[in-house]
Symmetry: D2
Subunit: 343 residues, 4 copies
């Protein structure tokens, strides 16, 4: 931590700050600049938590320097982690594809989608049985019934299942039926849930919060890892900005940031990240080119049949076209050794 003193801070002010730092068992170093003095704090920054340094006389502000997370950091684990889900490797050479509907709506819908997803070459079926919705009056999911349909789809197709867990009570059933438990963006700092999910031990995919910094996201991963789970996968799904054309702004630079700061694999979700189907293909290809370890995508299997006259028959066509392009691109990058990541 670096403490920046006000330009008119007195010698006494600085002495008080130094005394306070030393009082919690840390070392202080004074640096005199042209306009301002700064005081560096050396040692475990957790000790500073109880000190209201910003409220001390003569203090302008303070800047944190060191990271709070350890287990999630690349310093702790210099090799990139590869997470093995019963034979499907996340973080390895080949990108992993997770596809499926936003929510499990019916047995028929999820079984049909699963066939479709399997055929496309994806490894994971996604689909929410518990849905965190902005309004209490929106569909909240089929819950355990939905989980059972997912398990049935796994049996039929061999796809792995990834589905969201939204509450501590939901951990047991989700852990029973899913291969990977997903923590959604709105729960990224639901620390109670993170701790319990971490205790459970099952692999977890942690989505980035709607306006989470990279640092907060890795600290959230640290909560899960500190509770006992080493198999954590990150998922960039777009951040909240002022732009209204897209639902979120997909931050692909997060891939490079995570690869630099952490050893954990990172998946990109261009569906939530953009909110517009036309953007899913370009952003999926861009994610692969940027070095993402996989993609998570929403697929609408056949909305046409249910509701209207085939106006959406292109959807299947678009998805298979996208998957073919993704496969080609990732194969080419591996063969040509086009590694985007600079450590």
């Amino acid at each position: 931590m670096v403490i920046i003193m006000q330009p008119d801070a007195t010698e006494e002010n600085i002495a008080d700050v130094v005394k306070t730092i030393e009082g919690v068992g840390l070392e202080a170093k004074i640096m005199e600049g042209a306009q301002q003095k700064i005081v560096g704090v050396i040692g475990d920054k957790a000790k500073m938590a109880s000190v209201a340094i910003g409220a001390m006389a003569g203090v302008e502000s303070s800047v944190a320097i060191s990271k709070s997370y350890k287990l999630a950091s690349r310093e702790f684990h210099p090799q990139s982690s590869i997470i093995d889900i019963d034979g499907v490797k996340i973080g390895g050479a080949e990108p992993v594809i997770m596809a499926g509907p936003c929510a499990v709506e019916s047995r028929e819908q999820i079984l049909e989608t699963a066939e479709f997803v399997k055929k496309s070459g994806a490894q994971f079926l996604r689909g929410g049985a518990y849905k965190p919705r902005t309004s209490p009056y929106s569909f909240q999911g089929l819950e355990v019934e939905g989980l059972k349909y997912l398990a049935e789809a796994r049996e039929r197709t061999g796809l792995k299942i990834i589905t969201e867990v939204t509450t501590v009570e939901g951990i047991a059933p989700v852990a029973e039926y899913a291969d990977v438990m997903q923590i959604g963006a709105r729960n990224m700092q639901n620390f109670g849930l993170l701790k319990e999910v971490g205790r459970c031990g099952k692999p977890v995919m942690l989505k980035r919060g709607l306006s989470a910094t990279i640092d907060e996201w890795l600290n959230a991963a640290e909560y899960i890892m500190n509770a006992g789970t080493t198999d954590v996968i990150l998922c960039e799904r777009g951040i909240r900005t002022y732009e209204v054309y897209t639902r979120n702004t997909l931050d692909l630079s997060a891939v490079a940031a995570v690869k630099h700061l952490s050893h954990l694999p990172i998946i990109v979700d261009p569906s939530h990240g953009t909110g517009r189907w036309r953007m899913i293909k370009p952003m999926a290809l861009a994610a692969i080119a940027a070095g993402a370890d996989g993609l998570m995508m929403e697929v609408h299997p056949n909305p046409a049949k249910a509701m209207s006259d085939g106006s959406q028959s292109l959807t299947e066509e678009h998805y298979f076209d996208l998957m073919e392009s993704v496969r080609k691109l990732s194969k080419f990058m591996r063969e040509e050794n086009l590694n985007p990541i600079v450590h």
Copy 2:
């Protein structure tokens, strides 16, 4: 909901969209503009949730028009709600003051602070027993022990207690000891927690999420109300923006927005909202002038004693000065009938 068609949408595209809308039991109205056609959807928008309208051929985008929340809306309850906490009225003529430390650190600390807060004229003592912290290695609170110290402080001073609940398991102990349960910013869309807190029936103060829109915030209140609690208080605590000088950007216009859209009372927290002690007084006065129903503030009772040589002895002075100014201002506004809110 209004659906905006692409400029080159065909008659068939529009017919498909209309058919889809009618297929879920809603009415569609076509409006032909100079460049584009739009289709208005009339009826309960929840029925649209299952339709992937944005993926249909010829559709450019859609705009939601009606609100999702009902119980929290002013249409549902035209009179401003006054919440009575055992004689202390929130949402009435006088602003309510909630003050105390960020976290309950020890019995001595909280009892000392309570005396201090009582003397200042505040009605509520705040202090976290369960702390949601960015890092798992930061102090997580004294939990039930902290709640007991708060209860003891109430007995001694008569102050009401407001403290945060962060997990479903924490609801029972917090409800036992607190007068108002607080939902923190990071849990604003922890829907499982909102539902359970709502079932509990105790008054709840719901802080605005770090990057929550007003609409999402009122929908989160709706979760609590829909589960059975009518006593919901909102708390604006700053939103996340690009500005780095302040910790958050305190959005005081949220006071006017909430007063227009909802009947619920709204409190302002200038401590978290700015992150800088110098800004607490101007923002506290501004909040009162804007029509807020109260203030929540962090008070450091006497950090000097514990750690350093009195460099912070101004803190107490600053807080009492602030409280005197707030009292004068709010009295003046009542006497002069200076009502900032325009319905």
Copy 3:
């Protein structure tokens, strides 16, 4: 400037960084932390501009500590500046009110508005003769003709004139007719314009850019001051955030920030800041309570007459009600010595 080294930076990396810093005539101080070493840079940070320090081996990142602006800073000029516009003092005890239409539309419109504004007790008439519009097809202003109408309104009412200058060519005519030249939000970093306006010598009101930090804003003021003008007024007009309910998010904490960092007066514009007429009164009162030196507001004199049947007859009523409340509040704050600003 503080340079944060990567955890695995070598002794050689650090030696290179120190050598580079010393190579541009600055002093380097090394500080060894638990996880990371940091290097402090002492001296004029402008010298660092030519060094790509962030690209050096072993460097993680760098943090600027000292401010770039001097003339605008409170250290340079500890007393708050009071700017005297021919007898109207901006930054003194009484808040200054600037009101008028968005754009000068006709001679009749501006003369009528001026009467109305004068009657309300405001000191300045605002109105754009040159309009920076998002679309080239929107009305771009009456230009010199508009300036002449403003001057005529001044003659009739005694109001001072503030109007926007958008181009270097526009400086001469605007300076001829206006008492204060306004730089709009979109031109806050139009440095060519800032320099020329600064050379002109006339008082300038500088609006905060749509997403400008406080630091960038004060640096923009520095451009004007460095070119020769000391009479600079700042105007907070809302910043761009993710919130869509309001047009912008009015950042009232900017008032306290500017008062702490600078000696320049600051005006608040709740009209652009909120984009909703219902919010203008609460935000105007809040601005005064926060210590703003004045208000700028858009007034629609009598839209009813021109276009519809009196549905807006409340507008005049609202404005006069607002002005009465502002006057009462500011008088009370002066009399009670309710100074919100903590230096």
Copy 4:
């Protein structure tokens, strides 16, 4: 435009709104929803500019539906534009590379860089002769002298020159020496500059503003095109968000958005977009995969020589490695017909 009425709007309110719309020569259509009535406005929305519809009794808000820009829109020009700069095609099959230093610092520096850039296979040399800097005390560029060095570099290498124009007075010299004039992010809504640059007729590259929406950006392009220039290139360079790890958040979805909404080519600048050299390669590859028409990058030719002991000798290596990867990727995408853009 769609006007949303308040839930308690009266029949008279609606009649007034309709009358106002018809009063400016437009057509109004009323749509009655479950909770609210909305009024659609049909015809040229520019006519609505003079009406303060939001201030009318019973009006809740209004939403713009149609676009303001025409010449920049894909509807106006369905084929993607290819801009031919003396044989170098921007918007064609092959991506165009623009590389060079941030600023022209000396004749030697720019000539040396030009050799280096030429050798890498780039088509354009970039380098600022006029620098818009946050602080007036930072280096402001070599101006005309810098332009002459750029021209000399072109003569020696055959590279095209792109350089920024920051003022109306600067247009003539920049147009004389440059092949493409660049408008920087801070001037994106400097409408006076846009109009004059548009009149000049030279090709222009328009960077996206720091917090500009896609819609505002295309409207800024419209200013240039409406003034007479058809050769406009867009450049995404990152937008301002809350994230502090990166300098800006590079919005690659803007590539797909621009390709859908407009016929103009779009270049991506991963240097400014991330502010971190390690992220330039992954973001450059991602941009190509997303369908960008080219890249603009900052190259530090040999900082080592000037200042330190070779700690940056990797820079040249990194740049050439990046260029090789970009070339391979773009060749592969062309050969495999991997078109990311879905119209």
